[in-house]
Assembly symmetry: none
Homo-oligomer: 81 residues x 2
DNA sequence: TCTCATTTGTTCGTATGTATC
DNA sequence: AGATACATACGAACAAATGAG
């Protein structure tokens, strides 16, 4: 598991919150902070950290999944591809 | 669960899209294709199949619910009465 | 084997804002 | 003004897979 650090969401931004979360996570992958096989913070952890709703976090994960950057494993977590 | 088959929406029709969806589902119930207790396609499945928005599909389901043709069960699905 | 906590998956409900016709 | 449609966001419940013990 990799710690989450700050996930700062700008509620006033034009960018939807779920895309902000996706952008932050994507940048961590791109930068190498999150490497292949690393587990992302769980949906629950991100809910706590961001104060956003469960469904909103799931939307963010879906974006990265659709981009092929991560894969989800039911009962285990979300992992960098 | 019952498969969805084609759900053809006519964007140019006078009939609102949500009513078109309601009409199609109603006809499947009337014809016996969908029987008492059968589960309708989920909102998500219909969103994918029709290309319409979540809220639009929900409007269609609400029509059938108001007519007493179906009942909704949160976390489970929509079922024929 | 069984139980429990964790985690993702799936489902409907509700509300708000915006755009279009 | 009103109806329709879409996007976003949050709430809630249930299911299924996993792993620890």
């Amino acid at each position: 598991m990799v710690s989450v650090h700050a996930v700062d969401i700008d509620r006033t931004s034009e960018t939807p919150t779920y895309r902000q979360v996706a952008n932050i996570l994507r940048e961590r992958i791109r930068s190498g902070e999150l490497k292949r096989g690393d587990q992302l913070p769980s949906v629950h952890a991100l809910v706590i950290e961001t104060g956003l709703a469960d469904a909103t976090i799931r939307s963010a994960v879906r974006v990265l999944k659709d981009e092929g950057l991560v894969r989800t494993a039911p009962g285990r977590g979300v992992f960098v591809c």
